[in-house]
Amino acid sequence: CDEKDIMNPVPQTSLQGTFLFDTPERVLGQVNGMYAGLKVGNFFGGRFPMLSDIRGEEFINRLQNVFTGYDAWNHTINSGSNDALTTWSSAYATINLTNLVIDGLAAHPNVVDAATTAQYVGEAKFVRALCYFSLISFYGQPYVKNQGASPGVPLRMKGEASPANNNLARSTVAQVYAQIIKDLDDAEAALPLKYSSDLLNTTRAHRNTAIALKTRVYLNMGQFDKVVTEAKKVVSDATPYKAATGVAHQLQADINTVFTSSYTTTESIFSMPMTELDNISGQSSLGYEYNLNQEYNLNATGILGNAQWRTGDSRRTMLRASGTTMYLMKYRKANPYLDYVPVIRYSEVLLNYAEALARQSTPDLAKATAVLTAVHQRSDSGYTFPAATTSSATALTNAIWVERRIELLGEGFRSNDLLRNMLPIPSKGTAPSITSSQPEYIFPIPNAEISSNKEL
């Protein structure tokens, strides 16, 4: 055999970068690769929503295992903790994938047509925005604390593949939010109205996905008027609330449908798909943590006992009792773990909308109540909100927050809902409460970043 050949072996199971833009299929593969970056176990595949939930007060840690989030639950995360590093790394690894796609498409303009290129760039910006939003809500002080004047995270906007550029200073929280909004606005303009299948509509970003995420981002920023503006694009004026253009998002009659029988209905705006060949198992899997391995049970003094959540509520069918202890079984398909992980659900958009309606400069309490009621009555049709809870913006907001805890339990919202409102994290079990002035209120920037990025 020829010496030159054996000295230059070509890997047969990986692709060298130079061949990446040879075919349109490989470009599409890279677009799917960005979503796959979101889906890793340490990110939206399971660990990220789990960390957000267990920092709040709804769950009790049973086994004191730092590999299943004990540090986050107990607020003992430090800059050397695994969860501080893996969340950070997973988000930035995905950001780099989006930047490489954006840079690569610009460098190889003729592999796919201009319209497709624009769509792919839109998808990349959506994914990048979701990553930065995840980072800033974990590692940055709340926007509302000082209108984003606090230090945020480094804004990486170029693809990185070489040893250069280790150093980059942190942008402010406001700068990061501005970039998120810019990316989402661009994405909204570039993304298709819909795809060819329910599966694609649920697992890739289309226009309404970008809009839906904007309602969440603006809510975090306390810019309620803008939440309303965005929400109106995807929520009709009259019931049943639905999106008039693009994918026709609306609530399903039974919430169980979304979690057990069909993961790709119009209620699921954006979810992480799971298949036998591609699923998240083990200690980052939500089904493993909450149900199979019983790492966490529901806190008896958390939302579980709230009067707004009555026994007949169909959302209680997603709980299970073992003795007197209650467990969440929203994610129940084990070995393989095939439950999709929801990232954006239509009920969240409705609750974002309702909260903004109640908190905007000129509150619309009637409309807010109607939207809130639509979410609640879907699962407990006989329930009406007492007048006392809907008569003032403050009371209504509180009712909406309670509703979020019921509706979105185990979907990764609790920590952010406390932090965006500067509320203390309540104590639970043996874990203490944490106020917004304590350093434990947010995650520390990981040590690995501090030691190699000299401009932090």
Partner: protein, 1025 residues
């Protein structure tokens, strides 16, 4: 009659009448009859024995005892692509004879080298069978690449390391070589000797020569031993009563400290007894359930013989060894055949082939690299499982909780750990090798002194890994899953060498070697995991399952293409010179960096051969004196990632859509690490060489270290690191070897060998100002080591502690500012767990407070080997020792953890009353931090100095007359032996040699949740026919 050894007859000896051509050979019983003049002299000669001249002096019957030509055997040094006499050799090497390892109860010969070769440090990482030892020749010579030496068997560099790629089963391919087949082991240490292996020589070279036939009557040898192994130095755990007392005290302390002393809704105790049917307290000794007395046996049979033209050696081996842990087994079935045939006066053919089947079976021990924190590790389960719960329920079923963990009985807490017994009973982890090692060579020697050798070697290793995890309990719950993986590691080596030896004017000896070598490694692995077993009846991959997904697929290739040469010269056996050169190409490196030039030069001066020296008075005492020096440049590109220089994208799935994503940041400029070694030494013989001294000083400067340079995680580079050539370090040291024939009086003799190596390792540069490399135990589970400029590689790293506060029983830490900070695990809501000693809130101790806690690499090590003989008895006593380093006794953190885990009896000394001085903090339920279970603390750093009685053996040569001449038995030796007899150390863990991170350079000296070593007693017999 001609005899040898213990008066056994020696057939085939040539007997010549001196000065004539009259001669004959001895018959099968060693006798000969010939006619000759009574004044003549007979010359007896036989290969491998010293020739003797015996004057007849008119006798009619002459008995001659032939002595082995020890000079000829002992004084050869196997060097790369050839041999040199010890006299000619001017580098630095150590030689261990096969006999020294053949009877040891080990799986692979490398485990038996401890203390036997100067400069070579061997650490057995734990008692898991066939676990590759940690071998360091003159220190750690790389940071990110392998520091495992190159192993060359009969001329072919072979695959080493834990080849299974299984996180559960150890599989050292050197265990595929029967130690009894080894003639000699030569360890090349200095660059001038190793540079003939160019780019692969940085960690030293171990050359294995297997036995070959000797002309003469067929010689049959049987070697066998049987023995038992038991775990030693296991710590004593709390019994059920003590466990409940300590844990309930912790629960109550937690209640009080969290301000709930008067809160009836907070439990005061959580641990309660269970009783057996007979009313006795359940008190489970988990050691009994997990550990065992392992029984082992080993049998080897060999036949060797041949004529002057054809020599052969044939052997077979069966070994079945059981470890200290239940279900840990090693078995080997092997055959070897070596043949050497002189076809014509100018052509010799050599072939040798070794086939073996080796089966490694092991439970998950938690003791292999990356496993220290698993929920399934037997070592940890035996320690932390609650003693007040049973293994089985009264109905005989396993004691399990509803959450698939160990049932906690009446205790009101849950465990996230498994019941170790069903794990041992139901799960299966094996790694099986079918290994063919063979070479075929032809030597052409058309004229005297000239030899052309062409040789083809194969090292074909087929590994099958089988994993079954039962759906009843453990990691396969509830589906039951089976993973089979097939790995083919193909390695071929094609070598051409031309040698020419010439003596000019009787005093100038010249040797020339030129060669071309091409070696290729092809590794392919494929496999699948089947899960959702149709029925718990199925225990194998081949059963019925609902799901199958691909697993462990990989395809890799690597090639080395080299030319090399050597020039040797000596003048009158006084002045010696050797020059080596190799140009190596390695496919794993960057496009323009694949080829490198390496070489070395060494010289020697045999002072003792000089007339002026011989006439000096010093020569009366110092009968031998040779000075030698060498310098060489070698490389290292032992990348575990054969495509490390390439930027790669991997394909995967997003649900069911195909993906491509950045998977490896490649460095196209990736080149060699370069080591420059200087070596100066002297070989000294005293009192007619009764005492031989070997003194060597060396220094090795390594530049262009390939480092996995950390990248800011915010860049999003896969694994947050890229391989780059930066950094440098050195190893400096000296070696002393003393071999002495201490006493020889009548039937009694005492031979001893003492060796000592001092090594200093220091990192002199990393990847920039102020940079350091953090090492983590078990993937990223725990930051445990740091590599920092000015210190040795992989120093221990963690939080500094300062005992226990006698006032309140809290652990005191020292933060980065040098302030004392104490930790209280249970505080009222809103208060800080971390406080200064005055009680004011303090920031939590984190990685930024970590400090360097001690050097983890031994500074000195060696062995002290003694052989005593008295008549037919022989006694061997071999010590090994090592020291100057520290070990992180991480297992101690486990033993003192205040979650639901059981503790060692040391915890009985915990703090209970103000003013009490103790090193065990007040027990507070849930406290995982104060004792170093959550992150490493200096409290658990201990000195690792030790002396070990590695082996002691007592043998007896049974007089063969007992068996009668008809038995054909020519020699019998019976012996008994103890391996790892005892350890003298202040280290309080199980063994200071333990390495939870295996052979990793960056994380040495960590003992975390590993099983201990075993002590083995054997009884054996060696029989010759």
């Amino acid at each position: 009659k001609v005899t040898e050894g213990e008066n056994s007859p020696l057939p085939g000896v040539t007997v010549l009448v001196k000065g004539t051509s009259q001669g004959m050979t001895t018959s099968a019983d060693g006798t000969f009859t010939m006619e000759c003049a009574p004044t003549s002299t007979l010359v007896f000669s036989f290969i491998g024995y010293s020739s003797q001249e015996v004057p007849v002096n008119g006798r009619s019957s002459i008995s001659v005892k032939m002595g082995a030509d020890t000079k000829q055997l002992a004084d050869v040094v196997v060097v790369g692509y050839g041999t040199q006499t010890k006299e000619e050799f001017t580098g630095s090497a150590a030689r261990v004879k096969g006999d020294a390892v053949k009877d040891l109860p080990v799986q692979s010969f490398d485990q038996g080298l401890a203390g036997k070769a100067t400069g070579v440090s061997i650490g057995q990482p734990n008692g898991v069978l066939n676990n590759p030892p940690v071998i360091r020749i003159r220190g750690v010579n790389s940071i990110s690449l392998s520091s495992y030496p190159l192993v060359v068997v009969d001329g072919v560099p072979i695959n080493t390391g834990n080849v299974a790629g299984s996180s559960t089963v150890a599989n050292n391919p050197l265990g595929d070589i029967n130690p009894a087949d080894i003639e000699s082991i030569d360890v090349l240490k200095d660059a001038a000797s190793t540079s003939i292996y160019g780019s692969r020589a940085a960690a030293g070279v171990i050359l294995i020569t297997t036995k070959s036939g000797k002309a003469g009557k067929p010689k049959v040898t049987y070697e066998g031993w049987a023995g038992v192994t038991r775990a030693v130095r296991l710590p004593k755990m709390l019994n059920a009563e003590q466990f409940m007392m300590i844990k309930n005290e912790a629960v109550l302390n937690s209640k009080i400290l969290s301000g709930n002393a008067n809160n009836a809704s907070v439990a005061s105790e959580l641990f309660f007894p269970m009783y057996n049917a007979d009313g006795s307290l359940v008190d489970t000794d988990w050691y009994k359930e997990v550990y065992q007395t392992g029984f082992s046996q080993n049998h080897s049979l060999s036949v060797s013989g041949g004529s002057e033209s054809t020599k052969y050696y044939f052997s077979t081996n069966y070994s079945k060894q059981r470890g200290i842990l239940k279900t840990n087994e090693f078995s080997r079935k092997a055959v070897r055949f070596n043949v050497d045939h002189k076809l014509t006066s100018w052509l010799t053919l050599t072939a040798n082939a070794n086939y073996n089947n080796t089966l490694n079976a092991s439970p998950n021990t938690g003791s292999l690299e990356g496993n220290a924190f698993g929920l399934v590790g037997s070592a940890r389960l035996a320690w932390l499982s609650a003693p007040n719960v049973p293994v089985y329920n009264p109905d005989g079923s396993y004691n399990l909780s509803t959450a698939n963990t160990l049932g906690m009985g009446n205790n009101q807490v849950s465990s996230n750990f498994y019941n170790p017994v069903p794990m041992l009973d139901l799960n299966k982890y094996t790694s099986e090798n079918d290994h063919i090692l063979g070479t075929f060579a032809a030597d052409f020697h058309p004229v005297k002194g000239l030899n052309y050798r062409i040789s083809y070697g194969v090292d074909r290793l087929k590994i099958e890994n089988v994993t079954f995890q039962s759906g009843v309990h453990g990691p396969g719950y509830p589906s039951g899953n089976a993973t089979n993986t097939s790995i083919a590691a193909n390695n071929w080596d094609f070598t051409n060498t031309l040698t020419y030896n010439l003596t000019v004017a009787s005093k100038h000896s010249i040797g020339l070697l030129a060669g071309y070598d091409r070696q290729k490694f092809d590794n392919a692995a494929w496999g699948a995991t089947r899960s959702n077993s149709a029925d718990i009846f199925f225990n194998d991959f081949q059963g019925s399952y609902g799901t199958i997904i691909p697993a462990n697929n990989a395809l890799n290739e690597r090639a080395l293409v080299s030319v090399f040469g050597r020039f040797t010269y000596d003048y009158d056996k006084k002045y010696f010179l050797t020059v080596n050169f190799r140009r190596d190409g390695n496919s794993a490196l960057g496009a323009g960096k694949k080829y490198g030039n390496f070489g070395g030069v060494s010289g020697g001066w045999s002072l003792a051969e000089e007339n002026f020296y011989r006439n000096s008075s010093l020569a009366q005492v110092m009968t031998g004196l040779k000075l030698r020096a060498s310098w060489g440049k070698i490389g290292n590109a032992n990348l575990t990632n054969w495509y490390g220089s390439l930027s790669l994208y991997n394909s995967g799935l997003y649900g069911s859509a195909a993906t491509w994503a950045f998977s490896q940041g490649g460095n196209p400029d990736l080149g060699w690490e370069t080591g420059k070694q200087t070596n100066v030494g002297a070989d000294i013989g005293l009192f007619n060489d009764r005492i031989q001294l070997d003194l060597t000083y060396y220094r090795n400067n390594v530049d262009g270290l390939i480092l996995n340079v950390p990248q800011s995680p915010s860049k999003g580079i896969p694994n947050n690191a890229m391989l780059m050539n930066v950094g440098s370090m050195y190893n400096r040291g000296f070696e002393v070897g003393v071999t002495a024939n201490v006493l020889e009086s009548g039937k009694f003799s005492w031979n001893t060998n003492f060796n000592y190596t001092f090594n200093k390792n220091q990192v002199t540069a990393l990847y920039g100002e102020g940079t350091e490399i953090v090492g983590t135990t078990s993937a990223t589970a725990e930051t445990s080591n740091i590599t920092r400029v000015g210190y040795s590689v992989g120093s221990l790293y963690g939080a500094k502690t300062d005992g226990v506060n006698p006032e309140n029983g809290q652990r005191i830490f020292i933060n980065r500012e040098g302030q004392r900070v104490q930790y209280n695990h249970a505080v009222p809501s809103g208060q800080s767990r971390w406080t200064y000693l005055d009680g004011s809130a303090a920031p939590a101790i984190s990685v930024s407070d970590y400090q360097l806690l001690g050097n983890a690499l031994p500074k000195f090590y060696g062995g002290f080997n003694n052989t005593f003989r008295y008549g037919n008895f022989d006694l061997g006593v071999n010590f090994t020792y090592s020291g100057g380093n520290y070990v992180m006794n991480g297992s101690k953190g486990t033993w003192r953890d205040q979650r639901f885990w059981n503790n060692t009896t040391e915890v009985l000394d915990r703090w209970t009353t103000p003013g009490q001085k103790t090193d065990i903090p007040r027990v507070v339920y849930g406290d995982l931090l104060s004792n170093g279970s959550s992150f490493p603390i200096s409290e658990n750093v201990e000195k690792a100095d030790y002396i070990r009685l590695q082996t002691a053996s007592l043998g007896y040569r049974v007089p063969v007359q007992l068996f009668g001449a008809k038995s054909g038995i020519s020699s019998v030796r019976v012996y008994t032996q103890v391996f790892n007899a005892f350890l003298i150390t202040k280290y309080s863990g199980t063994d200071p040699d333990i390495s939870s991170n295996g052979n990793s350079n960056l994380t040495p000296g960590v003992d975390k949740n590993s099983i201990p070593q075993g002590r083995t007693f054997t009884f054996g017999v060696n029989v010759g026919f």
